[in-house]
């Protein structure tokens, strides 16, 4: 089970989207997420969906992979949809006891659900096409202008990449502790949710202890390899803006402009 975990949810493939500089992709994802909140009507969503569909096609990520991430938040979407559907006032379309569907409610429910789905598909496209390491490099580089006001950009990125690196190690450790405790009669599998959650506490304590021990070992190993912060470091894979990245910047700008005009935020 441990052998096939994927870090993050990267989909390895060589597509135009995979090859883009992570900084461009992170900026694009942020712009895209914010832009969703500027959309006012369904034609606006049609435009966003079309752009997203083009990106998905370019990324060569299979649709099944793309929607796998949706399963986890399906309940949230359903809940949002139901809440908007039943709790909005307006002209009544249909009523059964205290349940009442209004035309405004239907419109808002569809609107919200669509916004959530687009939000998730769009942002998972970022993590599907960018290696975790490239992602942290990109974040470091994007945050580095804020170093002047005291933001530890390099340290944050280093922490993220170490966290990613040690997910499998800590999972193995948890597995080991769980087996050791099962062997001595601990029960992780029966009982209701609350009882099972309680059974995990004796697992968490030793896991925390070993996390600290690992951190100490790692810190020493990093020092032994001359690590002394981001100052004066060079990179094996330095980030470099190429022609395609510059083209992407222009497309991002174009996308934003069209969206703002369509939604009536900019009027000529």
């Amino acid at each position: 089970m441990l052998k096939d975990i994927t870090l993050g949810q990267y989909y390895p493939c060589d597509s135009p989207l995979h090859r883009l500089d992570p900084r461009v992709k992170i900026t694009a994802a942020l712009v895209y997420i914010v832009s969703l909140f500027f959309v006012r009507d369904f034609p606006g969503f049609a435009y966003v969906t079309l752009c997203l569909a083009v990106l998905v096609a370019l990324s060569r990520v299979p649709l099944s992979f793309l929607f796998r991430g949706m399963k986890a938040i399906f309940l949230i979407i359903l809940f949002t949809f139901a809440a908007n559907l039943f709790l909005t006032d307006g002209s009544v379309l249909w009523q059964l006891g205290f349940l009442r569907v209004t035309s405004e409610g239907l419109y808002r429910a569809a609107f919200m659900a669509l916004r959530l789905i687009l939000l998730i598909v769009g942002s998972s496209l970022l993590t599907l096409t960018t290696k975790p390491m490239a992602l942290t490099d990109g974040i470091e580089s994007l945050l580095s202008p804020f170093r002047r006001i005291g933001l530890p950009a390099h340290e944050l990125a280093m922490m993220m990449s170490i966290a990613l690196r040690f997910i499998p190690t800590l999972m193995e450790e948890a597995d080991k502790i769980m087996k050791a405790q099962s062997a001595r009669g601990a029960d992780f599998e029966s009982g209701n949710v609350l009882q099972r959650a309680k059974a995990l506490i004796p697992l968490l304590v030793p896991l925390f202890v070993s996390a600290f021990r690992i951190a100490q070992d790692l810190a020493m190993a990093m020092e032994a390899r001359c690590y002394r912060g981001g100052e004066g470091r060079t990179r094996l894979h330095p980030l470099k803006m190429r022609g395609r990245d510059r083209a992407a910047w222009i497309l991002i700008l174009l996308y934003t402009l069209i969206l703002l005009v369509q939604a009536g935020w900019i009027v000529f």
Binding site: P132, M133, R165, R213, D217, A221, T234, L236
Partner: protein, 279 residues
């Protein structure tokens, strides 16, 4: 040969809480390690051998006495990064010393820290991975490798800094026999290329493959010599709770039983040759 590492009267005690008396981990150790030599340091748990290893690249600094690495004093703050570049270190737990989720990025970590230009990092990474035969796994995550492979990556990470000496702090303790064999072969190869190797171990079979064995007990050096010299003092080693390597132990018992075996048997191959000569 000239001394690469010179230790003079080194004492060190780990910091303790107030009210407790510190117990010295190292107590007046003097040692010279020649450039290009292959030295094994053995001793039971708590003998100070790991503390000694960490003194060699300034991870720990002397309380008293002096450690000179290639002429640089480990007590001098201005020199410690140069010392750590020249003396690479591989630790016991293969999982807890790899920094990156991708093998080649991990090997690049050292040179990146040293500020080596990108093209040269690429060159050094390729060279280091080739030296430990891990080129095929360069894009893999460390969690997909065996223990022996992880230690080979850790060695590559050290080699990419182009050190003059490599110190292994019980680096084979958590490996299976196959992994240990892989690591030992790489060490012997590096030694032949002129890199100084210091191997901290509690496997006597591994120590027997070194040129020189230093035996530590209670923070002091208590024996120092070639494997043949050290293992000839079987009684003293047993008094220190150390076992003789299997081949040497067996040879000794056979001699006691009246079999005339030549001196200088160190490995199982030597013993085999003495018992039934191939020619």
């Amino acid at each position: 040969m000239s001394a690469f590492i010179e230790i003079e009267n080194l004492s060190y005690a780990y910091p303790v809480n107030e009210g407790e008396t510190p117990r010295p981990a190292l107590d007046g150790v003097s040692l010279r390690i020649e450039a290009g030599s292959f030295t094994a340091v053995i001793g039971r748990n708590g003998s100070g051998k790991s503390t000694l290893a960490k003194q060699l690249n300034a991870l720990l600094r002397p309380d008293a006495g002096r450690v000179l690495v290639d002429g640089l004093d480990t007590a001098d703050d201005a020199q410690i990064w140069e010392i750590r570049r020249r003396v690479g270190m591989v630790f016991q737990n293969p999982d807890n010393q790899l920094v990156s989720s991708i093998v080649e990025d991990d090997v690049a970590f050292g040179p990146e820290n040293l500020g080596v230009p990108t093209e040269e990092i690429r060159e050094r990474v390729d060279e280091a991975l080739a030296a430990v035969s891990m080129e095929a796994q360069r894009q893999k995550g460390p969690h997909l490798l065996s223990g022996g492979q992880k230690q080979r990556v850790a060695i590559a990470g050290v080699l990419a800094m182009r050190p003059r000496c490599i110190v292994l702090d019980e680096a084979t303790a958590m490996l299976d026999p196959k992994g240990r064999q892989e690591v030992m072969e790489i060490l012997e190869h590096l030694h032949r290329q002129g890199i100084t190797v210091v191997l901290i171990t509690h496997f006597m079979e591994e120590a027997a493959r070194a040129e020189r064995i230093v035996v530590m007990s209670r923070g002091k050096v208590c024996m120092d010599g070639s494997p043949a010299e050290v293992f000839a003092r079987g009684e003293e080693l047993r008094a220190l709770d150390l076992e003789l390597p299997f081949a040497i132990d067996l040879a000794e018992r056979l001699r006691e039983g009246g079999l005339a075996l030549p001196q200088g048997i160190l490995t199982e191959d030597d013993l085999l040759e003495a018992l039934c000569p191939s020619k």
